[in-house]
């Protein structure tokens, strides 16, 4: 055994020497996927947004329970008819090169987002802006084509980050980082590592350490191992199977926070037999959502209806068939004329999310019990996305992103002119009218009631079968305190983290 002993000690000395000891006040962070690009206006991948939220700042930000908090804007208000929105900027806010953030920068940023040539995918959320005025250096007034309460939520996304007008002219937005966020990007080796250091005069206040060292470890078991070996102080985990191991290891803490993104079984209502309402309802009744959650995610999550943001979420048991009822399911099937079931294919993306394969197999075995024979088609991520966008599937296991505001979350699917209609494959007047009402309604309580009605109708029509929401996991070593997770999965909470020996 002597060879193994010497080998291991060599590794030990080497490893300890490398990981920068906590003393130098660097926070070592590890996660499994790297940003796919650095232009805040066009990037939508979760891995990209997580990084950009530390480098850029939008006008406002969503807090731990999704309330609107000041960011670049100190204060804001709607006109009484909610058709104009005025922001007053924080005079202290400066870009990383020290230049102040002015109204002109805000105007230029939004014009860039609205310009089709930029390819800003979140553009749909801001099309109701008809004009932007800058009465003085620190005030911006947005003219809207009609009352649009959700737009304020939209302003909280990093896709609406404020970039210097000069950078837009120079066209360097995607290649050089010039934001006003709490950190600056020192170095980045894509798909491997990145180094961020604290922006001293960030207008949001001081940060308790000097910088962040990011390591991209694609294999989540490797992330857990690096936490144990002290190479990483803080980590983000996707796979519940790995996350549930963290509490077992001494010296590690696991924080879980519910997410807005929802696990769903999308049915293609434009194809027989899913075109039949009773068939879709039978499928909804046949599934035991809690059992799938227990098996695929080891119970790490909560059964949910279509609305996932805390402000609008309702108790799912009130929704259509949220208790498994196989007899009712068989009865619905016979009423729809499919007494002895049918066969179909179910598509899922490999590793996106990590639990997709498990969910597909569980759904397959549960639907088999009422005579629906599914064959599973696992696909590589890009192939999956292509078929998903084209609506070319019988059923699909999906994990779709959620938004704080139900309108911005679902207008793309469940409105008549939503641009992902061919993915939803279902629309009716009630859904469309409820969405429009919700958009214009300014009173919170009324909005909540409208969307609750929208949720009940959606569950009953069951174009999709909503399953559950999972958790976002962050793990940290002892000595790392003060991090507060948010449903959007944003890492902005790292700003308040303190490191102690």
């Amino acid at each position: 055994m002597t060879i193994a002993r010497t080998l291991v000690s060599a590794v030990a000395i080497g490893a300890a020497g490398i990981a920068a000891p906590l003393g130098a006040q660097t926070l070592n962070v590890a996660w499994s996927q790297d940003a796919t690009g650095l232009d805040p206006h066009t990037q939508t991948a979760f891995a990209s947004i997580r990084l950009l939220e530390l480098l850029y700042e939008p006008l406002v930000r969503l807090g731990p329970n999704l309330e609107i908090q000041p960011a670049i804007a100190e204060s804001w208000e709607f006109s009484d008819d909610a058709t104009t929105l005025t922001f007053r900027l924080d005079p202290e806010a400066t870009f990383h090169d020290g230049s102040p953030v002015t109204a002109a920068d805000v105007k230029a940023s939004f014009e860039r987002i609205l310009d089709e040539a930029t390819g800003a995918s979140a553009r749909a959320n801001y099309t109701s802006i008809t004009g932007i005025e800058t009465p003085d250096e620190h005030t911006v007034v947005f003219q809207l084509d009609g009352p649009n309460v959700p737009i304020l939520n939209g302003m909280g996304s990093i896709n609406a980050a404020i970039v210097p007008a000069s950078a837009i002219e120079a066209g360097t937005v995607g290649t050089e980082i010039m934001g006003s966020g709490p950190f600056t990007l020192e170095q980045r080796t894509p798909n491997a590592n990145a180094s961020l250091s604290v922006y001293e005069d960030w207008h949001g206040g001081g940060i308790a350490y000097d910088g962040i060292e990011v390591s991209i470890l694609p294999d989540e078991t490797a992330i857990l191992a690096s936490l144990r070996a002290g190479q990483a102080d803080f980590a983000l985990l996707n796979d519940p199977l790995v996350a549930t191991l963290v509490p077992r290891a001494d010296g590690l803490e696991l924080n879980t926070a519910p997410t807005l993104s929802y696990h769903v079984l999308q049915l293609n209502a434009s194809r027989a037999p899913m075109g039949e309402l009773k068939v879709r309802q039978a499928i909804s009744c046949a599934l035991d959502r809690q059992d799938i959650l227990d098996a695929a995610l080891l119970g790490e999550g909560e059964v949910t209806g279509p609305l996932t943001s805390p402000a609008y979420r309702n108790d799912p048991s009130t929704l259509f068939c949220y208790e498994q009822d196989q007899d009712r399911a068989r009865q619905l099937l016979t009423e729809a004329g499919y007494a002895d079931g049918f066969s179909a294919t179910i598509m899922a993306a490999n590793g996106e999310p990590p639990t997709a394969a498990a969910e597909a197999q569980l759904i397959q075995s549960q639907l088999a019990e009422i005579g629906i024979d599914l064959s599973i088609e696992m696909q590589e991520m890009n192939v999956y996305v292509d078929s998903w966008l084209a609506g070319d599937f019988d059923m699909a296991v999906a994990l779709n992103g959620g938004r704080a505001d139900p309108y911005t979350m679902y207008n793309r699917y469940w409105t008549k002119d939503g641009n992902l209609q061919n993915v939803a494959n279902y629309i009716d007047d009630t859904l469309d009218s409820l969405m429009q009402e919700g958009r214009v309604e300014t009173d919170e309580a009324a909005r909540k009631e409208i969307f609750a009605e929208f949720e009940r109708h959606l569950a009953e029509m069951a174009p999709w079968v909503w399953l559950y929401t999972g958790y976002t996991y962050t793990a940290q070593r002892d000595g790392v305190e003060g991090f507060e997770a948010t449903p959007t999965g944003s890492l902005f909470g790292l700003v308040d983290v303190t490191l102690s020996e």
């Binding site: 291991v8 060599a10 590794v11 030990a12 000395i13 080497g14 490893a15 020497g17 490398i18 990981a19 590890a30 796919t36 690009g37 650095l38 066009t42 939508t44 991948a45 089709e116 040539a117 930029t118 390819g119 995918s121 979140a122 553009r123 749909a124 995607g174 290649t175 080796t189 894509p190 798909n191 491997a192 590592n193 990011v214 390591s215 991209i216 470890l217 694609p218 294999d219 078991t221 490797a222 857990l224 191992a225 690096s226 144990r228 070996a229 190479q231 590589e380 991520m381 890009n382 192939v383 996305v385 292509d386 966008l389 999906a398 779709n400 992103g401 793309r412 641009n419 992902l420 993915v423």
Partner: protein, 319 residues
Amino acid sequence: MNYVLRRLLMFPLVMLGVSVFVFVAIRLVPGDAITAMLGTESGLLTPAQRESLAAYFGLDQNWVVQYGRWLIGLLQGDLGLSVTYGQPVSQIIMERFPLTLELALLSMLIALLIGLPAGVFAATRVERPSDLVVRIFAMIGQSTPNFVLALLAIYVLSVGFGTLPTMGRFVPLTEDPLGNLAQLILPALALGTAFAAAVTRISRAAMLDILGEDYVRTARSKGFSQSYVIWRHALPNALIPVVTLSGVEFGYLLGGAVIVEQIFALPGLGRVVLDAILQRDYALVQGVVLFIAFNFLVVNLIVDLAYAALDPRIRYGES
């Protein structure tokens, strides 16, 4: 040296073959860089937005034009721009290749340092217990999938010893030799075990044949000791099949590195290609695959040179 000269002339031909093969193969893969980057959100793009992005990614021309432009660029040493990294492909290769190269060389070294002596040792003690032990180890070495080895190594080390080779970052040899070795020794072992087993078996078989040859009997008739006969007369001949094996096996090392780099989270060239294919980053895939093929041919050329150096019959050809 005409033998080697002929091999050199084959270089451009094979490289051209590889370039066409990879150019077509990557474009046959469904999905493109836009879907890869934006995922499901790319559905929100209006046609105009999609066109401008396609132009940015260079996807708008037909294949022949793209290939032509890429080939001309190639001749001037410009491998084009990687979409996902926003850097020239050649720069990415220069940054990432040292790790994969060092990993491959280290596993080759391990394979030769373990395999060759073990093979020779076993050959000289045929049918005795030590021969059997070496053969069983070689057999097991060749039968274990390298990713299982890698997984177990990480688990044992992190749980058992609380230490781990550095992940996510490459510790270059120049900066910190000890750290570099500590980082790469384990992945190299996982990658090199199968290769070491192959070298053991090949060198053992070669030695067995050689020890039966006439010229070894002649050396013995001169009164030389067994070790001198093996070291001076048998070994140089045994190296020839081992060198040939190393040439082919080096190709597998570059391939095997893809999985080991993934598990040990090492930012090497193997992983770049894997990600590039998943991201549909055409320029990067083409550039890196061409570079790996070039390396493979260079290694085979070196093998041929070593061949000629080892065996005068090749160097002078038939008298």
